[in-house]
Symmetry: C2
Subunit: 241 residues, 2 copies
Amino acid sequence: MGQAKIRLCLDQPLGAGQSVQLTEAQAHYLFGVMREGVGTQVFLFNGTDGEWLAEVTEAGKRKGAMACREQTRPQSAPPDLWLMFAPVKKARTDFIVEKAVELGVARLQPVLTDYTNSERFRCDKAEAHIREAAEQCGALSLPEVVETTPLSRLLSGWGPARPILWADESEAGTATTLASFPKGPAAILIGPEGGFSEAERARLRASPFVHPVALGPRILRAETAALAAITLWQTHLGDWR
Amino acid sequence: MGQAKIRLCLDQPLGAGQSVQLTEAQAHYLFGVMREGVGTQVFLFNGTDGEWLAEVTEAGKRKGAMACREQTRPQSAPPDLWLMFAPVKKARTDFIVEKAVELGVARLQPVLTDYTNSERFRCDKAEAHIREAAEQCGALSLPEVVETTPLSRLLSGWGPARPILWADESEAGTATTLASFPKGPAAILIGPEGGFSEAERARLRASPFVHPVALGPRILRAETAALAAITLWQTHLGDWR
């Protein structure tokens, strides 16, 4: 058996001696694809109870059970960072979701902007991607996904408690913005491929809680800007320090 | 007509009054897909002569010609950063190439490592992706792509003139490493999904020109690590400052 390698995300409570059921998909993956069986050790997490080493106690074609043996890592909260992004084409939106989990965010907030030009954002699909990415990257918490909301409505209810790092190609001063960006809860705002409209830009510039940040001299695609902005915030103020 | 929007990368000299020929693919894109024609203004660049505003003088189904009107941006050299990466699965390797152009590197160096597990890296395909990405992101220079080389051979010939920023999940100190990383030519080294072997790690740790850098507490996929490391170097020492 040796060291457990596989990590699975479940929707059930985890604790000492706790028995848990696998979903049909998980049983298929573990026993069909990976050829594991009774006795295999697996890491389990559910986003709230930390990470547990568990052992397969029952292995069927479409079902299976495991027993939690010991907690391997206590639950930790992710840095309180929200990613607000305008959905782009499907593959690139999937990419934003996957990378946000790896790099570490607490909430994914799709936003409708004047130039958002994309198919509907599916929360259920995003949640499946989040679980896969979390299994893969060793994350203990799962970013929350909230419904797509118009940017104007979000900004109307916004306050200074969560300043916004606004990735804006026409602004200058990467290092300066980050050095003066407040500690604590934060949000990153990334526009669609076409950027923000003049009306949106005027409103963002006039908001005291919005901090524009430049991301280099080239024009980044939306998903690249999202990754770069999360990386910079994490290094300065998040859990990469 | 209005403002030129389309950017095309060519393999021909550009200069005042210079006439240039479109490739069949470019003619198809410009006249077939985009429905442009004689008189349309386009930005041209070739990686060495800066960016030029040009006007279509001949539009055919499979060919076309343009005349350079005026230089809109002088040629600039990209920051002298090499990205050394172990090729991963095709879609993710394509992603590394595209993002390296957007974020800004001077050379792409695929490396074979002990755990590299991937199909062959195609320089010609990478070059096509580089041109597309450069057209899209407004870059003036095209990263050079060199042949895949074993890591051990690269390290044998390496010297202190180009220190290596080594993305290594087991090392600590993102900010510290970056603050002390030398100015000037640099290379980033990213491993394959399985990481580096113990022998490779020992050799890298023993090299005085290799600077390990941590990229947060989660395990990043290869392409995520590449993007994050380029972002951090660019912000500290490259053209994002």
